[in-house]
């Protein structure tokens, strides 16, 4: 059995080793080097020193956390609420679930095209609707430092399909008897939702936050295509900041930033897992 098992594991281990493990070790090592193709020299902590001296890095860091917060405090709660309401099975809930899920399968690049049109100061739908309502309809949402970050967050906070289906699946696994007993005791639908369902969703809410945080910490496509990080880096993210260094041929520096991205991801994940007590069921 030993032989076949080894052969069986080989393709997976090879793919994983070449494209995840090797890059990971290259990243960790070269984060302490000046490296740009042919040029290579160990520089100790210089890359990190430079990072912490660069206000743009902190701007990108802050924006990344801003997007993560938008997901955590707008997108996920909204998705949980919609999931709970849909789980009440109002007439037409299947169709509504489909409609609300569809935006989730559209790519970041497509959203960049959609929202560069939607936010367009002259021909965009947003300003036309606002103008028709008699509100000021000439703001350049994406390229005004006051609104740029919010405009970017607005492209994804309503894409809640994933949270909705997670929540609905979890609610479906709650035993019937609990609700029957509550009904017998005279609990209203509202009481059942807030006192029974919501507490039982803790785990899945944590999972939804985790999955979303992962996307936000690595956020790139939308910002890169939509604003290229502008105006004045008001929408830039860590991934975009690292990418700029890569384009400049400063690979060591890009990798130091990359290590921060991975570390932030790890810290947030461990924190959320603890806070929501995820993983208490076995692997």
């Amino acid at each position: 059995m030993r032989g076949p098992v080894m052969v069986s594991l080989l393709p997976g281990i090879t793919l994983f080793g070449i494209f995840f493990l090797v890059p990971f070790f290259v990243l960790v090592a070269t984060a302490f080097a000046r490296w740009g193709g042919l040029d290579f020299a160990w520089v100790g902590l210089d890359n990190y020193q430079r990072m912490f001296d660069d206000p743009v890095f902190f701007k990108a860091f802050g924006n990344t956390l801003f997007y993560a917060a938008a997901s955590m405090f707008i997108q996920v709660p909204l998705g949980v609420a919609v999931g709970m309401v849909l789980a009440l099975r109002p007439r037409g809930w299947r169709a509504l679930r489909t409609i609300i899920f569809v935006p989730f399968v559209i790519s970041g690049a497509a959203y960049a095209v959609i929202f560069s049109m939607f936010y367009n100061p002259r021909s965009g739908l947003l300003n036309n609707v606002l103008g028709a309502l008699g509100l000021s309809g000439d703001r350049d949402w994406l390229f005004d430092t006051a609104t740029a970050r919010w405009a970017v967050a607005g492209t994804f906070v309503f894409i809640i399909g994933f949270v909705v289906v997670l929540v609905m699946a979890e609610i479906a696994s709650i035993p019937n008897e609990i609700y029957e007993a509550a009904s017998v005791d005279g609990a209203t639908t509202w009481q059942q939702l807030t006192r029974i369902t919501l507490p039982l969703l803790r785990n899945v809410i944590g999972t939804a936050i985790l999955v979303r945080l992962l996307v936000d910490i690595g956020m790139f496509d939308l910002v890169f295509i939509l604003t290229a990080g502008g105006p004045d880096d008001a929408t830039a993210t860590l991934a975009l900041y690292a990418y700029r260094a890569y384009l400049n041929g400063e690979w060591g520096y890009a990798n130091a930033v990359g290590s921060v991205i991975l570390a932030v991801g790890l810290v947030l994940i461990v924190t959320v897992r603890r806070a929501f007590r995820i993983g208490e069921r076995a692997l």
């Binding site: 069986s8 793919l15 002259r122 300003n127 209203t188």
Partner: protein
């Protein structure tokens, strides 16, 4: 699924509750879909109407944008590349993951748990952090800006997710059938192919759809690893469309619509697979 019905049946809801429920769901759906629907409708508009921003509905109605998307932007070339990447990348990930998931679900050996944990970790990290070293490794292997390289890379990128879902599925199925087959003298790979594979078909279908859509929508690594226009995928084409707005806006908007419709249609047809695949991947 049963429990919710009892909540619904718990009492007939009053009229105001219905108004509240549908008002809320309608508002959310409107916020989530309006920009996308508006852009899709815009792909039937003339360039003049798009630039003027007048009117929600196309007037006059035209399919010139779709003609431009194929004749001028050559969308079909990007579509073909993406189809190759998504199909073969999914297949590669599926084969590698299935082969690895089976022994890691069934047998106990030294390093098994470490290997499972390692594969799972890749799904829990923001992989864009690895951009530069991935570029470096791919280039050193001679796979930079190549279709074959992209297929192999996407197989690797989708491997952790595919592996985790398949392994969880296999762990939850009883081993009796395989044991019986092996007792009858069937070898490891015969058992895997004749007994386990048919058993795992629903799980394979589920992860395949999700992996396909993921690769179809992938932008970051395509942008990093492809330069020639002849190798680019549709997401790179979309990014290019933004700069096309100036001279061929109708083609760009119609092209974006076509690119979006592929995963949307897949989802509408295979809704159950997509939803259960995503749910399984997240909860594991």
């Amino acid at each position: 699924m049963r429990s919710a019905e009892s909540v619904a049946a718990a009492g007939k809801r009053p009229r105001w509750a219905h108004v509240l429920i549908y008002g809320f769901l309608g508002a959310v759906a409107l916020l989530a879909l309006t920009p996308t629907v508006w852009v899709m409708l815009s792909s039937f508009k003339t360039g003049n109407q798009i630039f003027s921003g007048e009117g929600f509905w196309p007037s006059p109605f035209t399919v010139q944008g779709f003609v431009d998307a194929f004749t001028q932007i050559h969308l079909h070339e990007y579509l073909l590349n993406t189809l190759i990447y998504a199909t073969l990348g999914t297949l590669g990930a599926l084969v590698a993951a299935f082969l690895a998931a089976y022994p890691l679900a069934r047998f106990v050996f030294v390093g098994r748990n470490a290997l499972v944990a390692l594969f799972s970790l890749a799904l829990a990290l923001p992989l864009v952090g690895l951009a530069t070293p991935v570029f470096f490794v791919v280039r050193e292997l001679g796979l930079f800006d190549s279709r074959l390289g992209m297929v192999i890379f996407y197989s690797a990128l989708q491997f952790p997710f595919t592996f985790i879902v398949l392994r969880a599925f296999l762990v939850s199925t009883p081993p009796e059938l395989e044991e019986a087959a092996m007792m009858d003298g069937a070898g490891y790979f015969t058992t895997l192919l004749r007994v386990v594979l048919p058993l795992a078909r629903p799980a394979l279908a589920t992860v395949a759809v999700v992996a396909f859509v993921n690769i179809w929508n992938e932008f970051f690594f395509a942008n990093l690893l492809l330069v020639s226009q002849e190798n680019q995928n549709v997401q790179l084409a979309l990014a290019g469309f933004k700069s096309q707005f100036g001279f061929n806006v109708t083609g760009a908007v119609a092209g974006a619509t076509v690119v979006m419709l592929v995963p949307i249609c897949l989802f509408l047809i295979l809704q159950r697979q997509v939803i259960s695949g995503l749910t399984a991947g997240a909860v594991k």
